[in-house]
């Protein structure tokens, strides 16, 4: 039941906006707050003894003639992502309180976006998954195209072009699995581990599904929509894009591609690993060349999601757990970074590093300090959230699943390590360019206001908590990952 409530609350909230006279200033905060409360309720009532079991299940006939079912559920893999989605959406609304109300449409779009995101993580029917996956696109497109920066139309267009292209592959792949297996039930399909699917079908299905998901992740070289979309999107758009949208791709890999087409996964894993490793280094190199704050953070996402994909490519429990951990860590930290980028851009009137021109620690010490924290967390300092996903991904590629070429994966590990060094380099370049040195600004910089604190403190606290106590998150994902991988190893 709670799964349906999670979807109904934001959906009803969006629909109610058509009723005139709804208070707009606190409306979004209220609706997303209730959604977050429901998500936290789900987390509180979750049976932690059996994180591998689907809980809060809903399984109703939807279109019986073609075997479609409205099947939802939460296990240890989806729970953290559901909570992250609800939290980030809520924080986006809180953050938006600092502006004059931006209109019903914006609020409605964000809420519909939340429905799509939550639905993607809740869906247990392949077509249902695809529907939610697609629902996300429209509001995101509109948010970029209507509220974005000067190049918004082009960026929004690129975003939709890439992701639609990916969706096409994804749909064909899903249908290929569904048709050949005779069911669309994701739980059943995952339990079969490809039984009943021929080798050829699995190889093709993994490729198609993988391509569709890889665009979203984004995997190099399908990432180029991301920097544009991020640079042009309004702050809350960037936060949700980086914080949650990208995770839909990697989540799909773990929930669909790897368990349902394991033979295909073994064939394609080295290629996935290769592209992931290239993405790690490439993202870092591209970051070193950027002069725009948001663009740099966007490229850093390419690198970080590269670690997540590398973890998946190892096809080991360690690697998949690393990927899921990396998902959450990246959502928290990069979400925070984009919030910060928005606030910096607003105060300085530009996102160009040379335009900001240093001295933030003396001009706006709190903003500078939080930015330093976020950068240090993002570069993977041990003890903070960003570290564990990367370390475990490297550990996974040190010992990939049996049957995968070990020497190749060792090379990926080395590339990943190189990427980690470069990651430190570009984040420190960023910090030394804008937080240190003399300020070129005469005018004072506005202090942080209360909504900014309210939006950021939870992210900072969680980054610390997850980093210091990784067990909490890993205990959730370990059991379901074992199930998805067939209980072996």
């Amino acid at each position: 039941m709670i799964s349906i409530v999670l979807l109904v609350v934001p959906l009803a909230g969006a629909l109610l906006l058509f009723v005139p006279g709804v208070d707009r200033r606190w409306y979004g905060v209220g609706v997303s707050g209730v959604t977050l409360a429901v998500a936290l309720g789900a987390a509180a009532g979750f049976g932690y003894g059996h994180p591998g079991r689907m809980q809060y299940g809903v399984n109703a006939a939807w279109a019986p003639a073609i075997g479609l079912r409205f099947h939802l559920g939460i296990d240890g893999i989806s729970l953290p992502l559901v909570v992250l989605t609800a939290l980030l959406t809520f924080l986006c609304f809180v953050y938006s309180l600092r502006y004059p109300p931006s209109g019903r449409l914006f609020t409605a779009l964000l809420l519909v976006l939340e429905v799509g995101l939550l639905g993607t993580f809740l869906a247990l029917d392949l077509v249902l998954f695809f529907v939610f996956f697609e629902v996300v696109l429209i509001p995101m497109y509109a948010i970029i195209a209507l509220w974005g920066g000067p190049g918004r139309r082009r960026a929004a267009y690129k975003f939709i072009l890439y992701t639609l292209l990916g969706s096409g592959f994804l749909l064909v792949g899903i249908l290929l699995i569904g048709v050949n297996a005779g069911t669309l039930d994701m739980v059943a399909l995952a339990q079969r581990h490809g039984a009943g699917l021929s080798h050829g079908v699995q190889v093709t299905a993994f490729l198609l599904v993988g391509l569709g998901l890889a665009v979203k992740a984004p995997m190099w070289p399908l990432h180029t929509w991301l920097p544009d979309a991020h640079t042009e999107a309004p702050t809350v758009g960037s936060v949700l894009l980086a914080g949650v949208l990208l995770k839909m791709g990697t989540y799909g890999f773990i929930r669909i591609a790897v368990p349902m087409a394991p033979a295909g996964a073994s064939v394609w894993a080295p290629w996935l690993g290769l592209l992931a490793a290239i993405g790690i280094v490439y993202g870092a190199l591209a970051c070193l060349a950027q002069n725009d704050l948001k663009r740099m953070i966007a490229y850093s996402s390419v690198g970080h999601m590269g670690f997540v994909l590398l973890g998946i490519a190892t096809l080991t429990p360690v690697g998949l757990n690393a990927a899921l951990f990396g998902n959450i860590a990246h959502g928290l930290i990069t979400g925070l970074l984009f919030f910060l980028a928005g606030s910096v851009k607003e105060r300085y009137g530009t996102g160009e590093l040379s335009g900001i021109g240093g001295g933030m620690l003396s001009k706006a010490p709190r903003l500078g300090a939080i930015l330093t924290f976020a950068c240090v967390a993002s570069l993977g300092l041990p003890g903070l959230a960003g570290f564990w996903g990367e370390m475990l991904a490297l550990l996974g590629s040190y010992q990939p699943a049996p049957g995968l070429p070990r020497a190749t994966f060792l090379t990926f590990m080395a590339l990943g390590g190189l990427g980690a060094v470069l990651t430190a380099a570009y984040f420190l370049r960023l910090l030394s360019a804008i937080t240190h040195g003399p300020s070129i600004r005469k005018a004072p910089v506005a202090a942080l206001n209360r909504y900014e604190y309210l939006a950021w403190v939870p992210l900072i606290a969680l980054t610390l908590a997850v980093g210091l106590w990784p067990k909490a998150l890993l205990d959730l994902t370990t059991a379901p990952v074992q199930l998805l991988l067939g209980g072996g190893r």
Partner: protein, 628 residues
Amino acid sequence: MKAEGIQAASWLLIALPLAGAAILLLGGRRTDKWGHLLGAAMPLGSFAVGLAAFFQMLGYSGNARIRHLHIYDYFVVGNFKVDMGLLIDPLSISFVLLITGVGSLIHIYSIGYMAHDPDRRRFFAYLNLFVAAMLLLVLADNYLGLYIGWEGVGLASYLLIGFWQYKPTAAVAAKKAFVVNRVGDFGLSVAILLMFATFGTVQFAGVYGGIGHASQGTVTAIGLLLLLGACGKSAQLPLQSWLLDAMEGPTPVSALIHAATMVTAGVYLIVRSNPIFNLSPDARLAVTVVGAATLLAGAIIGCAKDDIKKALAGSTMSQIGYMMLAAGLGKVGYVFAIAHLIAHGFFKAGMFLGAGSVMHAMKEDVNMRKYGALRTVMYITFGTFFLGYLAIIGFPGLSGFFTKDGIIETAFNKGGTSGAVLGTCAVLGAGITAFYMSRLMFMTFFGEKRWDDDVHPHESPLVMTIPLMLLAIGSVFAGGFLVLGGFADFLAPVVGAQEHKFHWVSVPGTVTLLLMFAGVALAWMQYGARPVPREAPRGSFLTVFARRDLYGDALNESLLMRPGQWATRLAVYFDTKGVDGLVNGLAAGVGGSSGRLRRVQTGFVRSYALSMFLGAALVVGALFLVRI
């Protein structure tokens, strides 16, 4: 064995300074008035706990001195499990006392040194953060915990080098330190992965228990990777270049982090990992080679610097080179490495703080060519500095004499060609050390006044000079106390028991002593007997070579930075031309012409909704057809 009594509370060691850092950072300006007092009290509190734990340890004997304190389960994933715990043994307690003892003195000194800095509170917050991370590094009972501390001290070092953020040079230096360290950290992290994969654990006990069953190749690989990590943190060749730039930080930072404690973490890592190195002669040899090369390189750099802090930094590199050399020599070496490390912690911290006191008097000028004759106005600073100086050059009876001679003798005892070569390097290094330290001494405290006109030097306040005096006492006695007082037996539970007797007179010792006097005499002829020019002469090829840090930066730039810049440009080019070009071209091709593409783009939401609808219809239709 489980920790009991006060040792069961050793988590306080880390918690106190961590709490200090948290209070000062979160409290903000409200804590400005008393922040420095809290900041200085925290390491003192840790020192008290450490002392109590130490005396409790003395009550035990043998292996009962190794105590374990479980904190919490870190995580379990796959076959891997990590428990977070603390290890209280003779090695870690030695470091705890050094870190909290010397650390407390430096905190107290900083109250005076940073008195006029508006951000003094933040400075103490970072210092406390450093102490907490450093204590975690030496107390953790597993490599992952050690690594967290390792990166934590790196972060604190980064923050403190860049503390005066209005200085652009400080920002660059801080960045460089962190990035170069990251290269070393890569080695350490791969070593940890290797341990995970080989032993299924990273607890010290598990790794050392299983090391005997691992293949020789694995053991050597782990050893070499650990060495790479140690090179980064301890500024050893080839990752030495960051330390000289790190002198941009406030002087107490140079004393605490870049002389006494953090930079010696590499030596700790190797000595702690002694069961690994004991099994791999190749890894040990690599350690000695790195140590011997760095002890010479650092000493040569020290000879040419006119900046008092950079001269001392070169000396730090060199002295850590001695420790590394010792650590690579095996059992007896471990003891001398740690003994020298502790003695060095006292005399080098003392001299750095002395240099800070001098800089205070000279309006923050660091150029020794503008010093001279300071002994006449700064009695305490001069006196304490002079004792530190005698200690470092190995004057008979002072700290350095015992520990450094021990290392030299152990090197020769290694035997064979390698023993002779390493020993000779160490002896030569001792001579050069005497030269550059005497040069520094003469240029700063002796000779003519070469001060700028508006400089009126004065002695520093007591809050600064009392720590200097206490450190000077350590400089004089620490080495002898450790070497003659049975430090080898104390460390035996960790590094294994060994027979060793200190020889007051030996052949290498005598040669070293002669070279030392020669170095002092040479320095006297050049910088004591003759006036020192206020402008640096052009100098010979060798001087320029040394001034430029042996071209380490130039080498880094041409080998790493340039190709890196090319790679970044390539990435950007590829993004705009390659991928995007391809996809746009593809899209244009599919759309027939770019004109039609543009038409699709306008009113996109509508056409998208339409295509969604069509797509959905197609799906439903397809499903009907196949009837699943």
